[in-house]
C-alpha cells in the first residue's frame, strides 16, 4: 500500500520543481499537507494546474488559502470542448538528475490524498553519471503530452501555458540522452488528446486475447455508454464492474441487462489495510484489469467508465485522461501480478435490476464557472493587466468594478479598459496607490473579483488568483528564511503589556525592522539606488535590497525626509506583520506547546485574567506539528550567520553620519532578532545555539567593545565613530532616545545570561555603550533605571522562564564612567577580582590575559609584566583624566608629566610605573581615537591644550 501524501515529502526524493496536474485541488489541504514537503530544497518551484471549472470552485475556500500565487503557481486549464474536462491526475516531481511521475486516480484533495481508495502508478527516471535509466519512454510520452496540451488549450491562461512549457523544458533537459537505456516497454502512458482511450486500448490489447475484464470506476454515464462499448469491443470477455457503495444510484441497469449474463456488477464492501483489516472506504479508483490466456494487462489512471473519458478524444470534445497500461506476461512473478490488487478488495454482487441512475448534487449544481471568464491576470510594475472573454452579445457600454481580496482585507479598485473587442477585453487596475500596492506586494494570496455591468442591470462577474512573480521566484531556502524571520517578528507581538512595548517601539522604528527583515544589506552604501527623480519615488519591491535611500531622507536623516517614503516604510512593516500573522504552520512551531480550546483560531497562547488559556495552537491533546530538527538547526544557523555578516558589512565601511544612523538602527533590530533566535535555539536545545551566541557577541562587540584600545586598535565601529570629532554632533543625536540605550543594555545582558557567559565581554561592551551614549552609569541613572527594569521584564517574559528580570538587571555592572579610565571593562564576577586602589570598584584582568597572547611581542611582554604585577600586588593604576588635574595616576592622583603620558601611549616592552606610588600604570595611546577622545574631552572641559 502506498502512503500517497507522504510521497510528496519523501526524504529520499526532495523535489526542486513540481508540476501537479489534477482535475481538482483542495488548496487549504494542499498548502498545509503537501506544499511544505515540495519546498524543502532547491528552487522549491511548484505549479498546480487544474481544470478551469475547479479553478473557479477554489474561491469557495478563499479565506482558508494563503499561499497561492505567493509560494506556488495555481492555474486553470481550459480544454476546447464545452463540457470537456481536464481530468488527468499526473504529478511530476523533478530534481536535477531524477524525476518521478505519479499517474493515478487521486486528485490533489484531502480525500484524494488521504481517505479515498485510490490507485496510483509511480514511474521514475534517474540520470547516473553515465546514463539515463528507468521509465524513459513513459517520461518522454509525458513530455509530449505537455507539448500537446500547449496546443490544445488556446484559451488557457498564458501564464499556465508558460509554466507547462517550462516544466516540459526541464523534463526534456533531463531526458536528453540519446544513449538512454532502453527501458521495459511493458508500461506505456496513454492520454486522450488525439485518440480515444478505447481505441488505444483495443490497439494495445488484442480483443481476442481477453476473456475477463474487471472494471473499477466510481462514475458512469446515464446510459452506461462507455461500459456498453467496452463490452462490444471485447465480445468474448466476461465483465465484472466494481463500484462504490455510495454511488449505487449512478449506474443504470437497463442497458447492462441487454448485454446478457456477461456483465456482473459488484459493490465494494471494503479494502484490506496493511494490517489485514477490512476498511470501508470511498472508492475513487479507476482501474481496469484485462485477463486472457496469454497474459494480463492493468490499466490505471484518471478515466471513469464514461463516454467523455473512453469514447472521445480531446480534439473531439472529450476529457483529457491519463492512464498507464502495464502488461504482465503469463510467467510474471506472482507477487507482482494485478491479482494481488484485486485480492485486497471485498465485493458483493448487486442485481442489475436494482441499479438506477440519478445525478449527484455535486454534478448538477449550478456551474461555478462565471459568465465572465478572466483568461489572465498579470502583476506588472504599475498595473494588474487582465484579459477577459465576455459572453456573446454584450455591448461595449459595459462598466467595470473590481475588488482585490486577500484574507485580511478587501480593496475596491478602479478598472481601466485598454482594449475592447467582441471577443476579448483588456483591462487594467492601477496598483500605485499605497493600499493596493501594499496588497499586491504582500506575502498573502490575493484574488481579483471583476464585475461587469451591462445595460438593464445585467451583470457578469469573474475571479482569478493573482500570481505574484516577485515571490514565486524565491527559492525554498529564501522562503523558509523569510518565514522564520517573520515568525520571530510575530512572536514579539504577542499580546501583553510588556510585549506591547516592544511592538510599539518597532512601530515607531519601522525602518529598523524593515531593514532587518530585508536580509541583505548592500555593500554599496549611498549609491543612490531607488532614489526618485522629479519628486517621484520608484517602487521598491520586497526583494530589492534595501539601501540607505530607501529609508532615509536625502539629507541623511534617520527617518525618511519624504512623507511618501515614510508611508511606504510603514506599509512594508504592516506587510511583514501580516505575513507573520498569516503563518499558521510556522517553521518554529515547536514553541507553541499550549493546548488549545475550541472556538479559538488565533495562534498565540494567551491568557485571560483568570489565567486560563483561551487561545492556542495545537490540538486539544497539546500536539503540535513536529518539525525537522536538522532543518530548524540549519535555519537558525543560517539566519544567525546572515545577521552576523550583515553587521560585518555595515561596520566594514567608513563611518559617515548617514551610515552611522543606519548601522545603529539596523544593529538594534538585529540584536532584538538575535535575542529571539538565541532563545529559540536555547529552548529547543538546537545545535545551532552556539552560532546565535557568537553572532550576538559579534554584533555587540563590533559596535561597542573597547578591547583593543590599549593597542590603539579598537575594532568597535561605533566607538571609533564616537571618537571621531567630525562625527561628534550627529552622533550625540542618535542617542537621544533613552529607551534605545536601555534596550541595548538589557539585550546584551540577557543574551549573556542565556549563554551563561562568564568573562569580560559583557562589561567590555556595556562600558563602550556607556561611552557612546554618554551615560555615566547605566544603573544609577534615574532616567534609565525604570526603562532598564521594563525592558528586562519584557525580555524575561519572552524567555519562557530562562532568565528573570532581576538576573538581567544584576548582570548590568554598577559602573560609572567616573570610575573607569579608558574604559577597560570592570566587572565583579571575573576570576581575578582586583580592588582598585582609587575606588570601590573591582575590575578584570581579562584584557591583560588577552594581550599576553598578542602577536605584537613588545605588547605581549608588557602585558605579561603587568599581569604578573597585578596578580601579585593586587593593585594597578590607570592613566586617569580628572578634569581638574589633567592626566594623572588613578592610584595616587598625582598629575603626570605629559612626557610620561606620551611614553605610556607608545607600545613598548617597558612597564611604566607611577613616579609617585610606583604602581604600574595601564597605558593609553593618544593616537587611538578612543583614548584621544577621552583626553580631548578633558582637554576641552578645562580649556587646556591637547596632549
Amino acid at each position: 500500500l502506498l502512503e500517497f501524501e507522504a510521497e510528496f515529502d519523501s526524504p529520499d526524493f526532495l523535489a526542486e520543481h513540481s508540476l501537479l496536474l489534477s482535475y481538482q485541488a483542495a488548496l487549504p489541504h494542499f498548502e498545509r499537507a503537501v506544499l511544505p514537503g515540495l519546498q524543502r530544497g532547491g528552487a522549491g518551484s511548484v505549479v498546480v494546474l487544474v481544470d478551469r471549472a475547479d479553478y473557479q470552485a477554489s474561491f469557495a475556500n478563499a479565506s482558508a488559502v494563503s499561499r497561492v500565487g505567493v509560494d506556488y503557481a495555481f492555474e486553470g486549464l481550459k480544454l476546447p470542448g464545452r463540457s470537456a474536462r481536464f481530468h488527468g491526475k499526473c504529478f511530476l516531481l523533478l530534481k536535477p538528475h531524477a524525476a518521478r511521475l505519479y499517474i493515478g486516480s487521486a486528485n490533489l484533495t484531502a480525500t484524494g490524498l488521504r481517505t479515498n481508495l485510490e490507485i496510483v502508478d509511480r514511474l521514475t527516471v534517474i540520470r547516473d553519471p553515465h546514463r539515463l535509466q528507468g521509465d524513459v519512454s513513459v517520461m518522454r510520452t509525458f513530455s509530449d503530452l505537455l507539448g500537446l496540451l500547449l496546443e490544445v488549450s488556446p484559451t488557457t491562461n498564458a501564464a499556465a501555458l508558460r509554466r507547462l512549457a517550462v516544466a516540459q523544458a526541464k523534463l526534456d533537459a533531463l531526458l536528453d540522452d540519446p544513449d538512454a537505456a532502453v527501458d521495459d516497454t511493458s508500461v506505456v502512458l496513454l492520454h486522450t488528446i488525439s485518440h480515444s482511450l478505447l481505441g488505444q486500448i483495443t490497439r494495445q490489447i488484442p480483443t481476442a486475447s481477453v476473456d475477463q475484464i474487471t472494471a473499477m470506476s466510481p462514475f458512469y454515464d446515464p446510459e452506461a455508454a462507455a461500459l456498453v462499448e467496452l463490452c462490444r469491443a471485447y465480445p468474448h470477455a466476461a465483465v465484472q464492474v466494481v463500484k462504490g457503495e455510495e454511488h449505487i444510484r449512478n449506474l443504470s441497469g437497463v442497458p447492462l441487462a441487454q448485454l446478457g449474463r456477461r456483465v456482473q456488477v459488484c459493490a465494494l464492501d471494503g479494502a484490506k489495510s496493511s494490517d489485514g483489516r477490512l476498511q470501508s472506504r470511498h472508492m475513487h479508483a479507476k482501474a481496469y484489469h484485462f485477463a486472457g490466456p496469454h497474459g494480463e494487462w492493468l490499466l490505471v489512471g484518471s478515466a471513469n467508465l464514461t463516454a467523455a473519458a473512453w469514447l472521445r478524444s480531446v480534439q473531439r470534445g472529450g476529457n483529457l485522461e491519463t492512464m498507464t497500461l502495464r502488461h504482465f506476461a503469463k510467467n510474471t512473478f506472482e507477487s507482482t501480478r494485478p491479482t494481488r490488487l484485486m485480492e485486497m478488495l471485498r465485493t458483493r454482487p448487486i442485481p442489475l435490476s436494482s441499479l438506477t441512475y440519478e445525478p449527484e448534487p455535486a454534478e448538477d449544481g449550478g456551474d461555478l464557472t462565471p459568465s465572465l471568464l478572466i483568461v489572465a491576470a498579470a502583476l506588472g510594475p504599475r498595473y494588474i493587466e487582465m484579459r477577459c472573454q465576455p459572453e456573446d452579445g454584450w455591448s461595449t457600454s459595459t462598466s467595470f468594478s473590481a475588488l482585490l481580496i486577500s484574507r485580511d482585507e478587501t480593496l475596491p479598485a478602479l478598472v481601466e479598459v485598454t482594449e475592447r473587442s467582441p471577443a476579448e477585453w483588456r483591462l487594467r487596475i492601477d496598483t500605485l496607490s499605497d493600499s493596493v500596492n501594499k496588497l499586491v506586494q504582500d506575502e498573502d494570496a490575493v484574488y481579483v473579483e471583476l464585475h461587469a455591468k451591462g445595460p438593464g442591470h445585467h451583470q457578469q462577474s469573474g475571479r482569478i488568483w493573482l500570481p505574484k512573480p516577485h515571490l514565486l521566484i524565491l527559492s525554498a531556502e529564501e522562503r523558509a528564511r523569510r518565514h522564520a524571520l517573520a515568525l520571530m517578528t510575530e512572536e514579539m507581538f504577542v499580546p501583553g503589556s510588556q510585549l506591547r512595548q516592544v511592538a510599539e517601539w518597532l512601530l515607531g522604528n519601522v525602518d529598523i525592522l524593515t531593514a532587518a527583515l530585508s536580509q541583505t544589506i548592500p555593500e554599496d552604501i549611498g549609491s543612490g539606488r531607488n532614489k526618485g527623480s522629479g519628486g517621484t519615488v520608484e517602487a521598491v519591491g520586497p526583494d530589492d535590497p534595501l539601501d540607505d535611500d530607501t529609508f532615509e531622507g536625502d539629507d541623511g536623516s534617520r527617518l525618511p525626509g519624504s512623507e511618501r517614503k515614510r508611508r511606504r516604510s510603514l506599509a512594508r512593516l504592516d506587510e511583514h506583520l501580516r505575513v507573520a500573522l498569516r503563518l499558521s504552520l510556522p517553521m518554529f512551531s515547536r514553541s507553541s506547546t499550549s493546548s488549545g480550546r475550541d472556538g479559538d483560531v488565533g495562534r498565540h497562547p494567551q491568557k485571560d485574567n483568570s489565567g486560563a488559556h483561551v487561545a492556542g495552537g495545537g490540538d486539544q491533546k497539546g500536539n503540535v506539528p513536529v518539525i525537522d530538527d536538522r532543518l530548524a538547526d540549519d535555519l537558525i544557523r543560517s539566519i544567525a550567520d546572515d545577521l552576523r555578516q550583515a553587521v560585518e558589512r555595515i561596520t566594514a565601511v567608513q563611518a559617515t553620519p548617514a551610515n552611522i544612523a543606519r548601522a545603529l538602527n539596523t544593529l538594534e533590530a538585529y540584536c532584538v532578532f538575535l535575542y529571539r533566535l538565541e532563545l529559540h535555539a536555547c529552548l529547543w536545545t538546537s545545535k545551532a545555539r552556539a552560532h546565535c551566541t557568537r553572532a550576538r557577541q559579534f554584533a555587540f562587540s563590533r559596535a561597542f567593545a573597547l578591547s583593543g584600545w590599549e593597542q590603539g586598535r579598537c575594532k568597535a565601529w561605533l566607538v571609533r565613530a564616537w571618537a571621531n570629532p567630525e562625527l561628534h554632533d550627529g552622533f550625540a543625536e542618535l542617542w537621544q532616545d533613552p529607551d534605545r540605550i536601555a534596550r541595548l543594555a538589557t539585550l546584551a545582558a540577557a543574551g549573556a545570561l542565556i549563554a551563561r557567559e562568564e568573562g569580560a565581554g559583557l562589561g567590555d561592551v556595556l562600558v563602550g555603550l556607556q561611552y557612546c551614549a554618554d551615560v555615566r552609569s547605566l544603573v544609577r541613572n534615574g532616567d534609565l533605571r525604570e526603562r532598564l527594569a521594563n525592558h528586562a521584564k519584557s525580555l524575561a517574559s519572552q524567555s519562557g522562564g530562562l532568565v528573570t528580570a532581576r538576573s538581567i538587571l544584576a548582570k548590568l555592572p554598577e559602573l560609572s564612567l567616573e570610575d573607569t579610565s579608558g574604559g577597560i571593562a570592570l566587572k565583579p564576577w571575573l576570576p581575578f577580582k582586583l580592588r582598585r586602589t582609587d575606588g570601590p570598584i573591582t575590575f578584570d584582568t581579562m584584557t591583560l590575559e588577552r594581550l599576553t597572547q598578542s602577536d605584537d611581542s613588545s605588547l605581549r611582554s608588557r602585558a605579561r609584566q603587568l599581569l604578573t604585577h597585578v596578580k601579585a600586588e593586587r593593585s594597578v593604576a590607570f592613566l586617569s583624566c580628572d578634569h581638574h588635574i589633567g592626566p594623572s595616576c588613578s592610584n595616587c592622583a598625582m598629575s603626570l608629566p605629559s612626557l610620561l603620558v606620551q611614553r605610556l601611549s607608545h607600545a613598548g616592552a617597558v612597564l611604566h610605573q607611577c613616579p609617585n606610588c610606583n604602581v604600574p600604570l595601564i597605558p593609553m595611546a593618544p593616537d587611538d581615537p578612543v583614548c584621544g577622545k577621552l583626553l580631548m574631552t578633558w582637554d576641552q572641559s578645562v580649556g587646556g591644550d591637547r596632549i
Binding site: R32, A64, N107, E118, D408, G599
Partner: protein, 543 residues
Amino acid sequence: MGVLEPPEFPQWTVRRGFGKVGGRFPLALEAVGQRMIAMHVLPQVTNATAHPRYYAFFCWVFEQFEQRVSHRLQERQVARGQRAWRAYLEHALRACSLANDPQIRQLIGSQKAVRIGGVRRDARVTFPSKSPSGFDPANYGAAFLALGLGFRQNGRYHLTPMGRTLAEAFRGDLLDGMSRRQERALEVLLSRQGDLAYGVLQDLSPRLCIRALSSVDREHRPLIDMFFRHERDEPSDRARANGLALLLNLVADAKGSIATAEDLYPLFATARYSDGRIPRLANKALEETFAIWQRYMERQSQKTGFNALWHEVLNLLERHDPLAVSASFIVEHMIKEMESSSALMSLIGARASAISVSEALAVVSAKLPTSVHSRAEKVLRLTEEASDQECDDRVGVALVLLLTVVARWEAESLRLTPLHIQLHSFEGPARLTLPWLAQEVRNRGDLSLQELLRWLVEWCILAQSVRVAYEKLDEGDRFFILPVDGGYRLAHERQDPQRYFAYDSSRLRGALSILVDLELLRRTKNGLSVTPLGKAVFQNLRK
C-alpha cells in the same frame, strides 16, 4: 517496467483518516464575545467558579500543609506532597458537602465523590484514585492565583497575605463551636495517619463543606473584599467589582423581573426591563460596564446571523448525506431561498434580487427605528427569529439580520469609544468581526444581494469552517463539514443547533451564583432580590 522501481506498482493508497470529527465552534466566532466579558466585565469569574467558599477552603488546605506536612518532606517532595494533600482534603470536602446537602450543584468531582450517608462509622474510606480537582485551572485554580490569594513557586503554592487571612477565617469558621468529637475527627483527618473511618467524615460534614456563606461567617468579609476590591491598581479588579456591582444594581432596580441569567440578555440588548423601564445605574462606571454588555449583545446578533447560514448549510448537507454537495449547489440553494424570502420581501420589496447591496443597506437604514432602544429591540427580534429552530425563512432572516446589524453599526459606531470599537475588533477578519463585516459589506456596495449572499456563504461559512478546522488542529481533524472531491459532506453527524445558536459564554450564571452564595442576592419565587447585606455592599461601593 522501469528497472529502478520495485515491481509493486501500481498500488492502492493507504487510508489516513482525519482523526476525530465534531467539536464545538466551527466558525470560531465565540472568542470575541467571550473576551469582552472575560477581560472587561467579569474577570476571574467563570460559570465553574460558582461557590466562593472553595477559595477559602484551598487557602486553608495550603495553610495546613505548611503547618503540618511540609516540614516532614524533603525539598524535592514538597510540591508533590502538596498536590497529594490538596487532593486528599478535597475528597473529604466533597464527601462532606454531599452529605451536608445532597442537592448541591456545581460541586467539582461530585460524581466520583465518596458517599458517606448510611455507612457504618467504623468502615474504612477509600477515596477514588482519580477525580477532577476543583483546583484545576479551568475550575478555581487559575482564578485563585489571579485573585491574588497565592502564587506558585517551584511547583508549590504559597499563600499571599490575603490568602493567609482567608485561611485563618476558614479555620475559624471550622473550629468555632466545634464539639469535642468533631475536633477529634478533624485532628484525625489532618493527621492523616492510617485509614480514615467514615465516622470522621460524617462528624465533619456539617462544617467541612461547600455552602452558602452569611455575614456571621468569618470568611464572608474577606471574600467580599476579594471580589469587590478596588484598591489594588489592577484593571481586572475594578472590572470585576463593577461587573458584580452592576448585577446587584440591576437586580435591585428590576423589581423582581430578573430570575436567571437569561433574563439579563434582553435587558442588555435593549437597555429596557421587560416592563419598558430604563435601568437606573448608580454611576458612570456601571454605565460603562453596561455598555460593554451591549457590545456583547451586538456581537451575539451578528454571530447568530452567520450561524443561521451555517445551520442552513448543515441542513442541506444532511439532506444529501452521504453524497457530496458542491459549493455552487449550496450557493444556488441559498440564493433560491433568498429570492423566496418573505422577510426580505417585506423589508425591501419585490425587487430584492435586483437591488444592489448599498441600496439594500439604505433601505434597511431608512427603516431602522430612530430610537436606539427600538433599533436594539428590532435586532433582538431578528436574532431570536434567526435562531428559532422552527424558522422556515432562515436564509432571508439571516440576511436581513446581518444587513440590519451592519446598518446599525454604521449608524451608532461613530458614537462609540475607541475601547468599544476595539472590543468588537478582536482578531479582525479571522473572527469575522463586526467592524470588518461592515467594511466588507460597504466594499460590495455595487454588487447585487445575490453576490453578497454568495460571498457570505463562501467566505464566512464554507471557507471559514475549513480554515478554522485547519488552523485549530493542524492535523485537519475536527472538520464539521468535510471538503471532499467535488464539494462538501457532513463530517460525521450534524452538530446540535443548541451548540452554535447559544450565546457566547457570558459568565453570568457563575457571577449570580457567587452573589447568592455570599448572601448578597437571594432567590425568591419572584426572581432574584438584593439582600440587606447586598444593599450595604452596594452602597459601600457607590461611595
